[in-house]
Subunit: 409 residues, 2 copies
């Protein structure tokens, strides 16, 4: 059961002018389930993306990168769930291309203008024919207000679809930002995460959009972990259709750049947090905040050591303030010159450890009170600088094991 | 239930001339349980050790390092379970010293000649008074043939005591090597692991003994992981009493050096594997062998990425050949120039993946057959060099979560 994550209200998901979405049931894994999504993008839109750093990246990641580099103008995205088309070699590339070609023919565009995405089981051939057969139904379904069903169509082990909308007013003009994401396991992003598609109708140059994407991803999808496994299929796509009339935002000198960047970041933070809240087997949502570091990188390093530790995660599952496990994780995070006597550890508002040991005023009952809540903040002050970083994660429960032991059955 | 790990047969554990062991029940965590071990070492023995690299290292680790550096000649080891004396600051150091002083007084030696070791819960004050009160009983129990009860006295979440003996004949003289270890969770050694004490009656110089220890640890305790958490209390101690008459082995030019080194390594490999076989919740014992790397470091890096992956570990728990998860772990191991098309993945004797995808001859039934066994070898050929490395690990089961969620209750 996800942690404080109600399903999105379709009525509150705002269409993005310039974007239509359609879904269909291709029967990839389960008959009757909507497992294919087609998203069309109006001509002239700018589309930028970040992808997994996993060397065993999926075939669609390779093809999407190639098509983006071709600079032919992206006009459509094709997404399937139920099969990752990863670990599939040259045949996987050919199948990904075949689905792009089939969609392009039906839409009257070039295959280079289609970006493919897949998610699901690795090491099994993509049933490209089933996807192609479902395209007419998906195309017939294309509508601007289909974001909620789109979010549903890209789910794998997700229990709740993830979609966020936000309005932003820039220099008197109202714009929309709407995004969807999927992901629940194999979550430890490295420059991107799982699948996320975010669009705005604001007009933005390619360079400015890249800058916004980098900023937003580094503060959202690159700040989460469920199980420490980096997916083969991670991708995050940001689209600016420019369908609502306004002067193009060329770069960060434009006064509209920062508010737009921050609004996109907020949407991505909410989507990233939604992935953690719906992390496989999650019962707790944890914010790991590391402060007082020399730079952001070392803060993130410590935060991830804590967030990934199975011992820390099981203690949170048990609501047991066995907080020495957090100290142990800080200690092995790789900061070889860390002076542990200066480190302070807080659980929520409770000071737990200082001077290398348990804080004098710490009472187990206070620790238990904080641990009992479904949302918990762990704050670590390294006391050696001014940098900070935040990472979000969830606990490790019986259900994580159950979900992943039974994934293919 | 441990994987193929019967309890050691006390009759087959060989006493080491120059070593006596005694245990007692101090009531640290549970009344009546033998939780304190005293080990005495004959005068003139060489004692060397490696310790955790965790910055939040436990107080006894700091004190043991200091006492070894003082070079006063180690005469006794004092070990307790039930409390790690880690995350305890200056007070923890004082308590560790107090127990050394108390033992030294009773044995008529100097406190600098005592090495302290603790294992158990972190962030709680060491009940030094209870340990001191138990010393007379432990001393009264000192006997050369107490290795089996000693192995039992240092257990925490271990379900089986771990002890190994071996005879080695060097230049016509018979020597003994006997060692014990404890560890089951928080196992991801970094230059040492958990607690292990190995002794031989061979006469060895300090330098030669250091060389043997480094070699053996790098091929045993530094090749295992259960949950990826590096303990605050890791320590591995190697003792050469020299109590059996022979010329001292000064360095590796001595023809007896290599056979002794290899025998010690074998003992430590068995102890390290015993820790994994008894890993918390383990139902499978996995050997991850990476070949064809440019150097040993990158082979180990890939092997550990696979061995630590919760997704790989849960798939093994389920006996499900969901082997794409192994490819994903290889892909995110951090070898940024890895050509995945050249990588070959074997499960036991079955070729699973090559050319970036599933091997043409691979049949799911073959994968299932190998996965059904309690001991499984995963072999990965990186095909870019001649180096190799092996790592041992276990699966991730419901019981791992149960054990660690309920650890303090």
């Amino acid at each position: 059961m996800p942690v404080n994550l109600p399903p999105p209200d379709p009525a509150r998901l705002l269409p993005v002018p310039g974007i239509t979405l359609g879904t269909a049931a291709a029967g990839i894994k389960r008959p009757g389930r909507r497992d294919v999504l087609v998203m069309t993008v109006a001509p002239g839109a700018e589309v930028v993306g970040v992808f997994t750093q996993n060397r065993f990246c999926a075939a669609p990641v390779s093809v999407a990168r190639e098509h983006l580099a071709a600079d032919a103008g992206v006009r459509a995205l094709l997404v399937n769930t139920g099969n990752a088309n990863a670990g599939t070699g040259a045949d996987g590339i050919a199948r990904a291309r075949a689905t792009c070609t089939a969609l392009a023919e039906r839409l009257g565009i070039s295959a280079l203008q289609v970006l493919p995405f897949s998610t699901g089981v690795i090491l099994e051939p993509l049933p490209a024919d089933k996807i192609v057969a479902a395209l007419p139904a998906a195309i017939a379904d294309l509508r601007p207000d289909n974001w909620a069903t789109a979010a549903e169509a890209i789910m794998t082990t997700d229990t709740v679809p993830k979609a966020v909308s936000r309005r932003v007013t820039l220099d008197g003009t109202d714009f929309v930002i709407t995004g969807i994401a999927k992901g629940s396991g194999m979550i430890h992003p490295n420059m991107a995460t799982m699948l996320s598609f975010v669009a705005t109708d604001a007009p933005v140059s390619c360079e400015a959009l890249e800058a916004i994407l980098r900023h937003a991803v580094n503060r959202s999808f690159n700040c989460i972990t469920v199980d420490g496994d980096t997916s083969t299929n991670d991708a995050c796509i940001l689209i600016a259709t420019g369908a609502t009339e306004a002067a193009v935002i060329m770069d960060d000198a434009d006064p509209r750049f920062l508010p737009l960047r921050d609004a996109v970041t907020e949407v991505m933070v909410q989507l990233a947090q939604a992935i953690v809240r719906d992390g496989e087997g999650a019962t707790k949502f944890m914010t790991i905040r590391v402060e007082g570091g020399r730079d952001e990188a070392e803060c993130k390093q410590v935060a991830y050591a804590v967030a990934r530790s199975p011992l820390v995660k099981t203690a949170f599952f048990a609501s047991d303030p066995n907080l020495g496990r957090i100290l142990a994780a800080i200690g092995y995070a790789g900061l070889s010159d860390l002076e542990v006597e200066r480190v302070r550890l807080y659980l929520g508002d409770v000071l737990v450890a200082e001077n290398g040991g348990r804080a004098a005023g710490y009472r187990e009952a206070d620790g238990r009170r904080v641990m009992a809540a479904p949302e918990i903040e762990v704050r670590i002050d390294l006391a050696r600088g001014t940098a900070a970083a935040t990472v979000w994660t969830c606990d490790l429960s019986y259900d994580y094991v159950k979900i992943n032991a039974e994934y293919r059955t």
